[in-house]
């Protein structure tokens, strides 16, 4: 097994990035004009990278599959973005943010990257504010912070419940400014369908114009993939309908290693599945856990009565409620990390205590918050001996001011008023920590191809902390890639424009066309969604919140069957050279059907539990994740060998110089 060179600089952690930047090669301004860069994706990572590189003088081509760059799925992020600014003076620092991220990731991330992320985090806020991002402010006019996802300090910047939207629109405006200047050429409604390598280097892509169906060749001196996460392999997730692995997967098949694909984040607070028609799941911001208490009935008969619709949550007496997170984790309570909260919910529901008709839901109850805030308000307004009703009324007003939009969203989807009945929530697939392997410079195992944002295997190890993905996307795009990419491009100033009339482009284009033909010509009996749903069920069952060796083996067999069936029986209507949404979907699902198997394979080989990867065989007596640092403190990066089943494992050993590895404890 080969080892991977992470290119981590020498020296103490806090000096590495500064030192590294000073020693990277540079490209002089006149030469930047001779260099073309393709950026696939316009989310936080892609838009910030494309805008920054264009400002520096490179020629950028930017791609996204949506009709506008502004609609990338970063737009949907709700809660906030972390930065070690220490504005509230509560003791935050680069070190603390680093520490929380590394520990939260269960010691499965690369120390130097995590440090750098924390180090550049403060710059991100400065940058966004100067772009006109309207973050929340306090009455003094300064930026407001909140504590998020159980962090012990308030380091999360936010824009009501729409932080992702505001950050993305900031990056999008920077991108549009460069499009207007002619430094970026925008290709929206375009989907990357293959990566083109020339002499082992990434030199371009094959893309399909989604309006006309035309297959296009685009050459460049470097290619950046900023294509987001692959949570949709589970069919149901909080991702957008079009979120996909296709660009990353094609690159994987061309030689980019896929790292830790099994690390999936399952978010504890989502609206439960309501039926077979369900097309996606909606996240309820994690900030709700700051005030909501999670519970299920203590008595089985109560749970059964609720499942049968004979009782409601409000019928259950206080003493008969099991606030299981508070019970199991007295010190963190409802604010334990996502992976821990999700598994605890599943444990209760599997034991038969779920609170909706499917038995897969738990309560998120604001009753105590109504009361607490109501009493505070009564005091503030000097209302003496307020009645119970008055307290409730005042409390609901406070909660509504804080979370009103989320409560409305819930009511709209579920059709039940969450001010009157406790919310029902259940975990759902949300984020993928795994992704294409990159070195410290964000370069993949294919020279000239870089991976940014959720698409890379990232700085989050086996579990990502809330409000850290937005931070990573913008760190990668604004503050890392503009420096690190120059080192390689310095060698390209005499290369000249990349020609696309070469045999390498011919081959890649043919490959793309053949696959499209194959999809259209199968003319089977089932629509694409049918297979996607089956894949999703298998993934959720065998490679979801908890996993076992036997289950994963079964999962692999099952996925292979579905894949075979797909290529025999899928029906894709329409033609190749037209606007054809079913064809788009079919291509994406075909790739998910391969990725799913690799995820199971990765989960099967990792004989330990860490972060979002929980193997039932490896747990402590109290049911907590049990890591095996002696044998698994490494990044597992898979090389494509013609089939997901035969992928070959490469390891990057993880070393920790600053922190002692310890068992995470949130008790």
């Amino acid at each position: 097994m080969s080892t991977l060179d992470s290119k981590v600089p020498d020296g103490p952690l806090d000096k590495q990035w500064a030192h590294h930047k000073e020693h990277l090669r540079l490209v002089n301004p006149a030469n930047k004009r001779r260099i073309d860069i393709i950026v696939v994706g316009t989310g936080l990572a892609g838009a910030s990278a494309a805008a920054s590189l264009a400002e520096m003088g490179y020629n950028v081509k930017s791609f996204c599959y949506q009709d506008s760059a502004r609609r990338a799925h970063s737009i949907a992020a709700q809660g906030g973005i972390n930065a070690a600014k220490n504005y509230p003076n509560d003791g935050d620092s680069i070190y603390r943010l680093f520490y929380d991220t590394l520990k939260g990731g269960d010691y499965r991330s690369r120390e130097s990257n995590t440090w750098r992320l924390a180090e550049v985090s403060a710059n991100i806020i400065d940058q966004c504010v100067s772009q006109g991002v309207p973050f929340a402010r306090d009455y003094g006019g300064l930026l407001d912070n909140r504590s998020f996802g159980g962090a012990l300090v308030s380091r999360t910047f936010y824009a009501r419940g729409q932080t992702g939207q505001q950050l993305l629109l900031g990056a999008y405006s920077a991108l549009m400014r460069q499009v207007g200047k002619g430094k970026v050429k925008m290709y929206d409604r375009h989907e990357m369908l293959d990566l083109v390598l020339v002499d082992g280097k990434a030199r371009g892509i094959i893309a399909r114009n989604l309006v006309t169906g035309q297959i296009e060749r685009h050459g460049a001196h470097a290619v950046l993939l900023c294509t987001g996460g692959y949570g949709n392999v589970f069919f149901l997730s909080t991702n957008a309908m079009g979120s996909n692995v296709t660009a990353a997967w094609k690159a994987h098949k061309r030689g980019a290693y896929m790292a830790n694909p099994c690390y999936t984040q399952i978010h504890p607070t989502c609206i439960p599945v309501s039926g077979d028609h369900q097309s996606k799941l909606t996240l309820m911001s994690e900030s709700l856990r700051n005030d909501g208490r999670i519970w299920v009935p203590k008595k089985k008969e109560d749970a059964v009565a609720i499942q049968q619709g004979k009782k409601k949550g409000s019928d259950i007496a206080e003493d008969d409620r099991d606030y299981y997170l508070e019970r199991r984790y007295p010190s963190f309570g409802n604010l334990v990390p996502r992976d821990v909260a999700s598994r605890a919910a599943k444990e209760r529901c599997d034991a038969g205590f779920g609170v909706n008709k499917t038995g897969e839901a738990v309560y998120l109850d604001f009753g105590s918050a109504f009361e607490r805030y109501g009493k505070m308000e009564a005091n503030v307004h000097h209302i003496e001996n307020p009645s119970k009703e008055k307290i409730l009324e005042l409390g609901k007003q406070v909660v509504s001011a804080k979370y009103g939009n989320l409560f409305d969203m819930y009511e709209n989807i579920v059709g039940e008023n969450p001010y009157e009945h406790p919310m029902k929530i259940y975990p759902a697939v949300h984020y993928t920590m795994g992704g294409l392997w990159v070195d410290y410079n964000l370069q993949s195992t294919i020279p000239g191809m870089y991976v940014l944002g959720e698409a890379n295997f990232s700085d989050h190890g086996a579990n990502r902390l809330g409000a850290s993905a937005l931070m990573q996307g913008l760190a990668d795009g604004y503050f890392v890639i503009p420096y690190t990419i120059a080192d390689q491009l310095a060698g390209e100033i005499r290369t000249g424009p990349i020609k696309t009339d070469t045999s390498e482009f011919d081959e890649a284009e043919k490959h793309v066309r053949d696959r499209i033909e194959q999809l259209l010509n199968t003319k089977g009996t089932e629509p694409v969604d049918h297979f996607h749903k089956r894949l999703g069920k298998a993934m959720w069952e065998y490679c979801g919140m908890t996993r076992t060796a036997a289950g994963l083996q079964k999962g692999i067999e099952e996925i292979r069957k579905i894949r075979e069936d797909f290529w025999k029986n899928v029906r894709v209507p329409g033609k190749a050279d037209e606007f054809n949404q079913e064809l788009e979907k079919a291509g994406r699902v075909a790739d998910f059907l391969e990725l799913g198997e690799l995820m199971c394979k990765d989960a099967l080989h990792r004989n330990e539990s860490c972060g979002g990867h929980f193997r039932e065989e490896y747990q402590t007596e109290e049911g907590e994740a049990l890591r095996d640092d002696n044998n698994f403190a490494y990044v597992g990066a898979w090389e494509w060998k013609g089939d997901p089943g035969t992928a070959e494992l490469h390891k990057e050993a993880l070393t920790f110089t600053v922190l002692q590895l310890s068992q995470r404890s949130y008790k």
């Binding site: 920054s52 949506q66 009709d67 506008s68 760059a69 502004r70 609609r71 799925h73 737009i75 949907a76 550049v120 710059n123 806020i125 400065d126 940058q127 966004c128 504010v129 100067s130 772009q131 006109g132 309207p134 973050f135 402010r137 006019g141 300064l142 930026l143 824009a159 729409q162 939207q165 505001q166 629109l169 405006s173 920077a174 549009m176 400014r177 499009v179 207007g180 929206d188 309006v211 957008a240 309908m241 309501s274 039926g275 028609h277 097309s279 996606k280 969203m409 709209n412 989807i413 059709g415 503050f479 503009p482 009996t525 089932e526 629509p527 029906r571 209507p573 606007f579 949404q581 079913e582």
Partner: protein
């Protein structure tokens, strides 16, 4: 639920379109409107017919992709929601529902219910930004306090999702609400203030070049906007624009490049 859908079908930008009837059955009230269309589409595919094309992505009311004109209203019945947030419990058994694309000269139909809204991007390119490069040495984010009231108003304006419902709602197909939201967001913040007037001029010029209609203060845009963007923003845009037009006559030309015509 059993429903009859009357849906606009148009094979391509130049093809002639028409309304086509589709009966659907077994619709549950928990479904979203788009999930109901998913069900219909899977049925059409199995029957060997072309599924109905429509834009969508996030399905949670934030990306601005979905854009259906339902029973004469952009995003259908209900206020402050997008099409993807519309649920079938708003309809009743036996209803006949009309579904059309956004109608506006500046939003040509691509296929069925999908329209081309790239004019919005070009308006943004004309001035919807603060001219600041990526820079690791900027002033600290807290160096300039912003009164909370201004920050909140800027935020309210910034929540526009660029869906185009305002244009679809307007008898003149004006894009004033969209443009004014962006102009207001930046004009209200000290970081965007410096370029506020040029921004207003350039964005409005581009809007005109894209063949959006004039604003005649009807206010349908505000009523149909899923994000509750206020008409106040149009008033603010008008102030910025008039101020800019005056100072343009007095001073040197505005130092902005302009994107080309659509």
């Amino acid at each position: 639920m059993k429903l009859t859908l009357k849906i606009w079908r148009q094979a391509g930008p130049k093809a002639k379109g028409q309304m086509v009837d589709y009966p659907v059955d077994g619709i549950s009230e928990d479904m979203s409107f788009l999930e109901m269309l998913d069900v219909l589409n899977d049925k059409l595919i199995l029957e060997g017919q072309e599924p109905i094309a429509f834009d969508h992505d996030c399905r949670e009311g934030i990306c601005g992709a979905c854009s259906l004109f339902i029973d004469g209203r952009p995003h259908g019945p209900g206020r402050h929601i997008t099409t993807c947030q519309l649920h079938m419990r708003r309809f009743k058994d036996g209803d006949v529902i009309h579904v059309e694309p956004w109608r506006a000269k500046a939003f040509p139909v691509i296929k069925d219910l999908v329209v081309d809204r790239s004019a919005f991007d070009r308006i943004q390119q004309a001035g919807g930004f603060v001219s600041v490069n990526t820079n690791g040495n900027l002033v600290d984010a807290n160096a300039i306090p912003v009164p909370k009231a201004d920050a909140d108003k800027a935020f309210d304006a910034a929540t526009c999702i660029g869906c185009g419902a305002c244009v679809a709602a307007c008898p003149n197909s004006s894009a004033m609400l969209f443009v004014s939201a962006k102009v207001s967001q930046f004009a209200l913040l000290p970081q965007g203030r410096a370029e506020a007037k040029e921004r207003a001029l350039n964005m409005v010029d581009q809007m005109d070049a894209e063949k959006f209609g004039n604003c005649s203060n009807i206010g349908a845009c505000e009523i149909e906007c899923p994000k509750d963007i206020s008409l106040e923003n149009i008033a603010r845009l008008n102030r910025e624009y008039l101020g800019a037009a005056v100072s343009k006559e007095e001073g040197p030309p505005v130092p902005f490049h302009k994107p080309k015509q659509a």
